[in-house]
């Protein structure tokens, strides 16, 4: 135990550096995912035909293994950080997309009809009614996406994109438990912390009128 802590203390600069890399990768990917997924989700909720496509692609997409995803995208993005970010983005889009769609489609039909009947434009309904009411669901999607991405990002080391995965794979190669743990512990801590943090965000964006 002391040996592990000692090792982590000795490697603190390296761990710090890798953590930053890890976070940058996930952060970029989740950011991109949100930018792509929310408009798509809104579109899916508005256009009935697309909604089928979105939920279908969403469910299938979730089943593709992350490692396979890396392989699939390699011909397009080559080896390195861009590939890692692209793969993480694809992974991150799905939960946000589905939650956005479900959140908006789940707005009470009476509320939507009242909005229409009172003369709100489509945009006003979206920004004043639908998005605020779907916000908790969307935030939950972002939370899921972030936690997934943080754990999946450890695989980025495979394709030379760095991150805490470097530590883990080096440790595996060299058979050094403390080195493996020096990668795993910060990665797990990151996932737990971001989950807690985003849980707070989720509560924050839940409109007061619908808080339980």
């Amino acid at each position: 135990m002391t040996a592990i802590l000692q090792y982590m203390w000795d490697q603190r600069m390296e761990i710090w550096w890798l953590t930053q890399e890890h976070l940058a990768m996930t952060g970029t990917a989740v950011g991109l995912a949100v930018l792509i997924a929310i408009p798509l989700g809104v579109l899916a909720a508005r256009v009935r035909r697309l909604s089928f496509l979105v939920t279908w692609v969403g469910s299938i997409g979730q089943t593709v293994p992350s490692l396979a995803l890396l392989g699939l995208l390699m011909p397009v993005f080559g080896i390195g950080t861009p590939l890692a970010v692209a793969a993480l983005t694809v992974r991150g889009v799905l939960p946000v997309l589905i939650n956005t769609y479900v959140g908006i489609a789940g707005v009470d039909a009476a509320v939507t009809e009242a909005g229409k009947g009172m003369g709100m434009t489509s945009g006003q309904r979206l920004f004043m009614v639908e998005l605020p009411l779907a916000a908790p669901a969307i935030a939950a999607g972002v939370r899921t996406a972030t936690v997934h991405c943080i754990s999946i990002a450890t695989l980025a080391a495979f394709i030379g994109a760095g991150g805490l995965g470097d530590m883990i794979f080096l440790g595996i190669n060299q058979g050094r438990t403390e080195q493996i743990l020096a990668g795993i512990v910060p990665a797990a801590a990151l996932a737990i912390l971001s989950d807690l943090l985003l849980g707070g965000v989720e509560r924050f964006v839940t409109p007061r009128g619908v808080r339980a």
């Binding site: 009476a110 509320v111 009809e113 009242a114 009947g117 009172m118 003369g119 009411l133 009128g209």
Partner: protein, 410 residues
């Protein structure tokens, strides 16, 4: 003014609305009623273009709604739906102020309007302004829904079964409040319901629909008096029994004939004529035939054969015009006294009914009232008693006699 011109709506092969031709006058409260699937909600939603007609036109003040800018059209039409559709993430004040906000009213004016409207619908602004819809009961939410529809002072309000989801007591209360609000705000209102008593309570006119067609469009009174066919009759059902009293006019319950005399006719002449006519009450008239008072024959207290004639000038006679509603007079009618009235002397004969020119047409006697009540209790329509043979002793008269006997025995 709203006009439906030969409006049809098809949903695929289903012909939901078939050639609707209705006009709603400014300030009129029109109730669209009928069984489920009769097209009433479809018709309503054509006004604010939530549904487009397959053919035909809907006009507001002469302009086809399909040619008006959609958003402007809707912001100038209040809309209330059964599920209220309040925005759960907005406070009551924000909900009510929504259309004013869309119309970019200044904040101060919006706040003022919110308070005014919450007062109007019977919610204390200080208590409810900052609450959220989920804190309110169903009835309160529906009040907010009504306030929200009125917020930007639109000339037209559409209400789609607004009280359908509330419990019977709340519903009665909301209906009464809406009847009051309607008097205060003077709007053109189109109201969809399947509750016939609600329709009678609120509607200036009622349009009964069936299978997408108008079966009868009439005032509540016309609907009760002359239902177009068996469907209307059946649909009105029990309501007809409980409402028959509502539009009953004094002329219709006045059954006792009232012989008339010139005001200067001598007592003996009047007494003889009344005895011949078999009645104790007559009316005196001026040369123009207008009522000047009543005359009553009073059998002498000693039981002798001498009779006296008591004259009562018009100002001491209760008079009703024949087209006045019975319900307005009812409390007074019930006070009609068999024993001597406050005027002393003769028995209060009842209420004299006159025509538009103030000419007496008859008397509503105590018997007539008892007969009326008996009819109401047993549920027999008033019309059915009208052809009754005057010689035929009515149940009411029988009861009256029994009671008089009882009094004598005591």
């Amino acid at each position: 003014m709203i006009r439906f011109e030969n409006v049809h709506k098809y949903y695929g092969a289903v012909h939901a609305v078939r050639g609707l031709d209705i006009t709603v006058r400014p300030g009129e409260f029109l109730v669209l009623i009928g069984p489920s699937g009769c097209g009433k909600t479809t018709a309503l939603k054509m006004v604010n273009r939530l549904i487009a007609p397959t053919s035909g036109r809907v006009l507001i003040d002469g302009t086809d709604v399909s040619e008006m800018p959609l958003v402007t059209l809707r912001r100038n039409i209040g809309y209330v739906i059964q599920e209220t559709g309040l925005f759960p993430h907005m406070t009551i004040a924000q909900n009510v102020a929504l259309v004013p906000r869309l119309k970019k009213w200044p904040r101060a004016k919006r706040n003022e309007r919110v308070d005014e409207l919450l007062h109007l619908v019977g919610l204390d602004p200080a208590v409810y302004r900052d609450r959220y819809p989920r804190h309110l009961s169903g009835g309160q939410r529906q009040r907010v829904g009504v306030a929200r529809a009125l917020a930007a002072d639109p000339p037209i309000i559409l209400m789609d079964e607004p009280f359908g989801a509330t419990d019977p007591i709340t519903r009665k209360q909301l209906q009464r409040e809406l009847a009051r609000i309607k008097e205060q705000v003077q709007k053109t209102i189109v109201f969809v319901t399947h509750d016939i008593s609600e329709a009678f309570l609120l509607g200036d006119s009622i349009c009964l629909l069936k299978d997408g067609e108008v079966v009868q469009h009439a005032t509540p009174e016309e609907l009760l008096r002359s239902p177009a066919n068996d469907f209307v009759h059946e649909f009105i059902g029990d309501e007809a029994v409980s409402r028959q009293f509502d539009y009953l006019q004094m002329g219709e319950i006045c059954r006792t004939p009232l012989p008339t005399f010139p005001a200067d006719a001598p007592d003996w002449q009047i007494a003889t004529a009344l005895r011949k006519a078999g009645t104790a009450v007559g009316a005196t008239i001026d040369p123009g035939g207008r009522l000047t008072g009543i005359v009553q024959v009073i059998p002498h207290a000693e039981g002798g054969n001498r009779t006296a004639v008591q004259r009562r000038p018009r100002e001491h006679v209760r008079v009703a015009r024949r087209d006045e509603l019975v319900r307005e007079f009812f409390p007074g009618l019930c006070r009609t006294n068999r024993a001597g009235g406050p005027t002393g002397g003769a028995v209060d004969p009842g209420l004299v009914v006159v025509d538009e020119q103030s000419r007496p047409c008859g008397l509503v006697s105590y018997d007539d009232i008892v007969r009326l009540i008996a009819g109401l209790v047993t549920g027999t329509a008033i019309e059915e008693t009208s052809g009754a043979d005057p010689e035929d002793e009515s149940t009411a008269a029988f009861f009256t006699r029994q009671r008089v006997k009882g009094a004598v025995a005591r």
